[in-house]
Structure formats: structure tokens, C-alpha cells
Symmetry: C2
């Protein structure tokens, strides 16, 4: 029997925990690290090995996967003083599945290359539901042959797995994804406010519009939650803010403004000011309503 | 055998012509009027009766359907000096399927009521393809019992047929539809510009994003046309401009601003200035590119 490559998994949050579980279930020898070690418990019961630091986790690993919140976290767990790079073997492949800036991804790539470690940026969409059901969309940047090496791992985690180009490209496509997520949500909120101001039953409106050229995932999934007054996450306002900061910084570096995306970011800031940063992104509706009265 | 109600159909444009054809095929005795009479020819060959004025067309009609461009056109063919109201019998039902303002629809409704004529506003979405394939989405405002009388007619023209509320409500829901159409299109254009500026293959981006939470009809249908440089209509810039004028006037009357929709309208104005008013709405991409460089 062929031996499965050994994987170190860093970051067991709402996304990372179920993803690591899928890898364990698929038979990969797994070492896990999380800042709050109590979250490793269930995986350790199921056969994973806990590690006190990313560096300890990465010893002997063939693949090191990071799934943390932001760019500085990625730099810390991979490149920091007790980061994975300190112990990883030459020829190992690091895969970051967090959403960070394309520039940070390329910086990590170049840094690891000096240690003869390969790096893929492989952010995901599909949220916690996609992580639990192993139906994530995964967009991968880096060397194509390294992507092919990692493909079986991605297949255990998601459904639509696409190589999108050189290092950083995965993060660029994720940025495009967040642009659409943000602006499509604004579309739903504006349509709902217009309907409501004119005495239209919003559920009827959603039903009618779901059939045609104004259809979107946001309309069908977030529209009904807004109508019910359900602003629980889903995907949190503060995380979309973080992602749109990445998007708009990247846009600025390219000399573009993305006016619709910027507009959404301003509404999300209003959400944060009103204590709604940990609500679902559909709380954008409340920010719009505050402006529209 | 039960006699089919007689229908007068006013306006045989890119939408009206195939719609009238479906009614003729369904066995309705049909009289047709069009400003340019040459467009009646095929229908007359197939058994329709031509009429020189809306008033002539509406004589003896049980239902009068109008499918014209704008509010003033509707007022003219229904209420004008040779309009349908001049000859229509008491108890007839007028159905306007054009996209006009809710206020104009209510004005026509009240005016016709004085002549003991019923009125439904029943705008559609689904475009020329929906008209040809009888798959239109139809959103109907007016009295519910009158809607039920007209339902068999709607069934010959569309698939998702919904009663949405009192007179004018059909036009409000259509306005909501256009809000989403407009802002979803902006989302696609911003994502494409960001991808392109970062060297990402836009077809790959569209493929990746179509699977998840940023999915929309616009992404899947207009995205590929933009990538191919195909800016033929579909739905023309100048018609979306007209519809967004209706939307934004209605919004203003409600005291709301609809910032995303307003943003799209400004880009469409730039399209018009650059001679692109008769291109498909996906030409919005070109307007965005002119700003973004």
C-alpha cells in the first residue's frame, strides 16, 4: 500500500476544524496546531497528533496547510520564530488556504523558495457550510506541477478545484469573488428597500426575481434571511470588511477604484459603528436602511 | 365549445410580435395594431385582423394588451384621442405589459375605472428570448379577481406568473428587478476589471466564481459576452437607462437614494455619451474601463 503524505494543519477555526477532519477521514497522517489548543481535542481523539507550535507540527510533514484569519497570521505561523519554516524539510509544500492579499502570498512564496519549500495560495469560497460538507470552491495560484501534487488533498476538501495561475493568482480570484459577493449583496438590499417602501411583500418579490435575469445566490440565500430579520452569520461583517480591505488595497495598487465595492465597504463601516461587526453580511440591509430612512 | 375571449394587441415590437403570435397560436381571436403597420403582416397572414388605430383594434375586444416602450406611449394607445378607451366596451380588461412607472400605471388604472374598464399592470422580464419561447416572468398588479380572469392569457406567454398586489405593484416589482439587474451587472464588471488588471484569465475567473456564493445570472450570461468583446444586445443600454429613470424617480418619491443603482445609471450615461446607447447593457464594462483606465 502506498503511504499517504503526512500533513500538518495549522489553524482549527470554523473553517479549519472540519477541513482537517476531512483529511484525517481520508487517511492522511495528520499533525494539528491551533493557538487555542482545546480545539485540537476532537481531532486528537480521532487520531491526529497535536503539536504545541507550528514548527513542531511541520516536522516531517510533506504538506503544511494553514487556515488562519489574516496575512499577519499567515506570516507568523509559516515564517515566524516558531513558524513551520523553522523545521520543515526541503521539498515540502506549504499551502495557505486563508484569504490574504496577493502581495503577502507572493512574499511568502519568495521567502519559502529560499528555503527550497514550495508554496501555493489556495483560498476557498463556500463558507463554513462548504467546509463541513467538503464542497468548497478552491482557487489555486503557484506552480502548476506543485498544484498537481496537491490535487488529491484539495479533492478531499472541495468540489470546484481550479488552477488559476502563478503565485498570488488564487488570492486575486478570491478578491474578485469578494467583489461580486459584496456588490450582489448591495443589489439585494436595494431591491428589498425599494419593495418595502412601496408596500410590496418582499417574499413575493424574491420569488418573482429568482426566476430570471436578476437571479443571484445572494438573492436566493441572503434575501429570505433579511426578510425574516435573521442577521446571524453565515459570513461575518468584519470578515467581509477585512476581505474588502484586501480587495481595495489591491485595486489601489493597480490604479483602479471599484466604485461599487467601495460603496459596500462604506456601508459595512456603518455596520461596525453600530455594533453589527459580528452579524452576518446581510446586516448590510440595516446600514442601507439607516441611510434610506 | 367555449368561445375564446377576443384580444386586441397593441405594439408589435421585438417583444410584442412573438407574444401576439403565441396568443394567435393558442386560439384567441386577435386584432393587432402597430404604429408601423408593416409589422402586422405575418400575424395577418396567420389569421389576425389588422386595425389602423388602437381604438379600431379595441372594438369588441374582451382584453386589450399593450406592449410599447414607455409611459407616454401607454397613455397614448390606451387613453389618447384614437386610444383603445374610445371604443372599448364596458367590462373590458386592459393589460399593460410595458415597463412604465408605477404612478403612470395607477393613473391609467384610475382613468379607465371611470369608464368601467379594468386594468392590470403586468410587466415582464426575460427579454426577447423569453418572449419568443413563451418563458417570460410576469408580475401583475391590480385587482386579484381580474388577474384570475386574465391568467389563461398570461399562461400562453410566460412561465412564472405572479400576482404581486394592488394596481402599480407589478411595476414596482419590475423596478426591483431592474435594480438587481443593474447592480449585479456592475458586480460582474468590477470583478472582470480587477481580474484583468492582475493578469488573471477572465474565463477562468468566471468559471471559478460561477460555482459559489458570488454566482449570478449576469455573471454566467453577460460575463462570457464581455470576455469575447460581444457587446451586441440582449437588452439595450438605452432601455436600461429608461428603466432606471423610472426606478430612480420612484425612489426619489419614496425618499430613498439607491446608491448602487444610481452609480450604474451614471455609467450608462457615459455609455450613451460614447455612442453605445444601442449596445447591450454589458457595455457597462466599457464605461467602467474608461474610468478605471
Amino acid at each position: 500500500m502506498q503511504t499517504r503524505p503526512r500533513i500538518a494543519f495549522l489553524g482549527l477555526g470554523i473553517m479549519g476544524l472540519p477541513m482537517a477532519g476531512h483529511l484525517l477521514n481520508a487517511g492522511y497522517p495528520l499533525t494539528v496546531f491551533n493557538r487555542n489548543a482545546s480545539r485540537t481535542w476532537d481531532l486528537v481523539q480521532a487520531g491526529a497528533k497535536p503539536a504545541p507550535t507550528p514548527s513542531e507540527a511541520a516536522k516531517d510533514a510533506d504538506f503544511v496547510i494553514s487556515m488562519v484569519t489574516d496575512g499577519p497570521d499567515v506570516e507568523q505561523v509559516l515564517l515566524g520564530s516558531d513558524g513551520a519554516v523553522q523545521s520543515a524539510r526541503t521539498g515540502a509544500v506549504f499551502i495557505d488556504m486563508s484569504t490574504i492579499s496577493p502581495d503577502t502570498a507572493r512574499l511568502v512564496y519568495r521567502n519559502l523558495l529560499q528555503h527550497q519549500i514550495e508554496f501555493l495560495d489556495a483560498p476557498v469560497s463556500g463558507g463554513d457550510v462548504g467546509a463541513r460538507n467538503a464542497t468548497l470552491t478552491i482557487m489555486v495560484g503557484g506552480k502548476q506541477d506543485v498544484f498537481e501534487q496537491a490535487r488529491p488533498i484539495f479533492s478531499a476538501l472541495g468540489k470546484r478545484i481550479t488552477y488559476v495561475g502563478s503565485s498570488g493568482s488564487g488570492q486575486v480570484v478570491k478578491a474578485c469573488n469578494q467583489v461580486m459577493t459584496a456588490v450582489n449583496l448591495l443589489a439585494v438590499c436595494e431591491a428589498l428597500v425599494l419593495a418595502e417602501k412601496n408596500g410590496i411583500d418582499p417574499q413575493v418579490m424574491i420569488h418573482v426575481l429568482s426566476g430570471g435575469a436578476s437571479q443571484s445566490w445572494s438573492l436566493e440565500n441572503l434575501g429570505p434571511r433579511i426578510v425574516k430579520g435573521d442577521f446571524s452569520p453565515g459570513f461575518m461583517v468584519k470578515l467581509l470588511q477585512k476581505d474588502l480591505n484586501i480587495v481595495l488595497s489591491q485595486a489601489q495598487r493597480c490604479g483602479i477604484s471599484l466604485p461599487g465595492t467601495s460603496l459596500v465597504q462604506r456601508f459595512l463601516e456603518d455596520n461596525a459603528v453600530h455594533g453589527e461587526a459580528s452579524e452576518g453580511t446581510q446586516a448590510l440591509y440595516k446600514a442601507l436602511k439607516r441611510v434610506e430612512g
